[in-house]
């Protein structure tokens, strides 16, 4: 039973992609990593559900989900 949603949930996904890229515009690698770390924490807190987060971690690691 998967908690994490992998079907499309974003309205206007293409513009979301652009917005994400703009986040990093003008940042060097160090600044980009620092920003990514902050974003991970903020979004993790929003998701809240640990089971869901663990599925997200596994997915990011490249492991298959059941």
């Amino acid at each position: 039973m998967t908690a994490l949603a992998v079907e499309p949930r974003l309205a206007d996904p293409e513009s979301l992609y652009a917005e994400l890229s703009w986040l990093y515009l003008g940042l060097d690698d160090e600044q980009a990593l620092a920003l990514s770390a902050r974003l991970i924490l903020i979004l993790a807190n929003q998701i809240g559900d640990r089971a869901m987060l663990r599925e997200a971690f596994a997915l990011a690691r490249g492991e298959s989900s059941d």
């Binding site: 990593l33 620092a34 990514s36 770390a37 902050r38 991970i40 924490l41 903020i42 807190n45």
Partner: protein
């Protein structure tokens, strides 16, 4: 053979080697003591005092140092340790309690923690006080109890466990000295000779940590404020701390990077500029040193007749708050069990619970404080960036503050899965569940004065009974009389109004222990809750006591089996 007879303790300084040589070889040598404690630090001294109080008086304490050590070393003592010192009768006083703790990242205050002092507690939540002061109080208590003083300059060079005793060999300025003991308590610290000689290694070692440690006199410091820096601007290590001590002193800690060489960084040419930048001036330095730690613990604390306490058993990350306090809790857990085993009032299996309870607590504590250590000094790479992200976000986002793993006070371990634990028929409050320390609360005494519940607990087991409506049933009285006469006495404390009862001042006893009328709590000799029942049933309580003593078969007071030979106090004749 009981170990609690009256009479002078064996004075080894008076023993006559010529007379000993004249004893025929066929007569086995009597042990020199019931317990030999190797190491006169807080854990070893607390164990010695507690054993004396429990009737084990042939206790010898050895230490390799030339004499009393100065220096504050461990300086943070939890309320639980203060409760234990009070129970031991050690007058540990003069500590300082800071009111607020500030975590500072770079130059910006990140997080502030204020100490809340709950009403109805006699003792503060903790004190800052040098280890030397605690050791002095414990040695003083030993002296008042008529114990042998610490045998200084005794360096352990050999240990040989046998089936019925342990042989120890010490190197002293006067030559080699051999000691035989029924049991050995290894309290000889992080570089334990006992551990080394027995070939025991620590498991799951954590990352090495080192810090320069300075006790200084500061003219203008706020004694009520503790400060912890992450990424301090005045020092190129990962962290620094400023902890108030009593009498105008402060403890300064400068944590070093793993690559730094402690001896180099502690040189005045390196140290003083850091202090200058940190404090705006060079303070009067009372003591300075380097403290290096490699965390880890023994998988088992009990090895036959050799039992490990304190740093000899478990080494914690720095500033965990559970290093020295863990050693005091070890002594508190061990002494009553070891005394009963020596007195043949409990099976040797009871010591297995010391192993399970304290090794479990040590492992849990090291895991938690390793997380804090990883937060203070994260691995390079993304771990550092995530940690720095927490620091950035914590100033403005509440959720990020909860991710800060430092600056909080440690908790006392609860032995939730101890094999000694009995049933919990009440369930609430969690604070007083089996395995937890019995909460303290003010009580009204018979003379109308106010005392503390923990002071009224028996030295053995205690049954706390909240009087039911309609008064005390006669089986309670009958049981209390019978139990008071047993070899392992049980004291019944009645909570309620009227003669022979402890009054519940402000309802705090009921609130903290779950005092529904008729409720019963069974308390161990180390003040931990063993079981909770909804009503008084003597047979059920006795079953819980038996389990608490590791007696198979449900009888807390089975007939004794023949006791092992123990040293006679007045003659060399075999005793028992």
């Amino acid at each position: 053979m009981s170990g609690d007879g009256e009479g002078p303790a064996v004075d080894l300084a008076q023993s006559d080697p010529v007379a000993e040589a004249a004893i025929p070889a066929a007569v086995p040598r009597l042990p020199d003591c019931q317990v030999a404690i190797v190491g006169a630090g807080p854990a070893g001294l607390a164990t010695a005092v507690d054993l004396h109080l429990r009737g084990i008086r042939q206790v010898l304490v050895f230490d390799q140092a030339a004499g009393v050590q100065s220096g504050s070393r461990a300086f943070w003592w939890s309320r639980r340790s203060l409760e234990i010192f009070a129970r031991l009768g050690a007058e540990v006083g003069g500590g300082a309690t800071w009111r607020s703790s500030h975590v500072i990242a770079g130059e910006r205050e990140l997080y502030r923690y204020d100490v809340t002092v709950e009403a109805g507690h006699r003792l503060p939540p903790f004190v800052d006080l040098g280890q030397d002061r605690v050791e002095a109080a414990l040695r003083q208590r030993l002296s008042v109890l008529g114990a042998q003083p610490v045998a200084w300059r005794h360096r352990l060079v050999g240990i040989e466990p046998r089936e019925d005793r342990v042989l120890l060999a010490f190197s002293t300025p006067e030559g080699e000295r051999s000691i035989e003991a029924l049991h050995v308590v290894a309290a000889d610290g992080s570089h334990s000779a006992v551990r080394g000689l027995l070939g025991l290694n620590l498991v799951e070692p954590g990352a090495d940590e080192a810090a320069i440690v300075v006790d200084a006199r500061l003219a203008s410091e706020n004694p009520l404020r503790r400060r912890l820096w992450l990424r301090p601007p005045f020092h190129d290590g990962p962290a620094a701390g400023l902890h108030p001590l009593p009498e105008g002193l402060a403890r300064i800690e400068l944590q070093l990077d793993p690559e730094a060489v402690p001896a180099v960084e502690a040189q005045p040419a390196r140290l003083l500029p850091r202090l200058q930048r940190m404090l705006g001036g060079i303070p009067e330095i009372v003591w300075a040193g380097v403290h290096a730690v490699r965390p880890g613990w023994l998988r088992h604390f009990v090895h036959g007749r050799v039992i490990f306490v304190g740093d000899a058993a478990h080494i914690h990350p720095r500033l965990s708050g559970v290093g020295a306090n863990g050693g005091i809790e070890d002594a508190d857990n061990l002494a009553w069990k070891l005394a009963l085993v020596i007195q043949d009032r409990a099976p040797a299996d009871l010591l297995d619970s010391y192993d399970a309870e304290r090794a479990g607590a040590a492992g849990d504590a090291i895991l938690l404080s390793s997380r804090a250590a990883d937060f203070v000094a994260p691995a390079p790479g993304m771990a550092t960036r995530l940690r720095d992200a927490v620091l950035e976000l914590a100033t403005s986002l509440p959720f990020a503050r909860t991710l800060i793993a430092v600056g909080r006070l440690p908790h006392v371990a609860v032995f939730e899965s101890s094999t000694l634990n009995g049933p919990d028929e009440l369930g609430e409050p969690r604070l007083a569940r089996p395995g937890a320390v019995c909460p303290d609360a003010p009580v009204r005494l018979e003379d109308g004065g106010v005392g503390q519940l923990l002071d009224r607990l028996g030295e053995g087991f205690t049954v706390i009974h909240f009087l039911p409506r309609g008064g005390e049933p006669s089986p309670v009285y009958e049981a209390s009389v019978r139990w008071g006469k047993q070899a392992v006495p049980v004291r019944v404390l009645r909570i309620g109004d009227g003669a022979g009862r402890l009054g519940d001042v402000e309802g705090l006893v009921a609130a903290r222990l779950a005092g529904a009328p008729g409720a019963v709590l069974v308390i161990r000799p180390d003040q931990r809750v063993l079981a909770r029942f909804a009503r008084f049933d003597a047979a059920v309580i006795e079953a819980a006591l038996a389990r608490g003593l590791a007696h198979p078969g449900g009888n807390p007071w089975p007939p004794s089996s023949p006791a092992p030979a123990a040293p006679s106090e007045t003659s060399k004749e075999p005793a028992g």
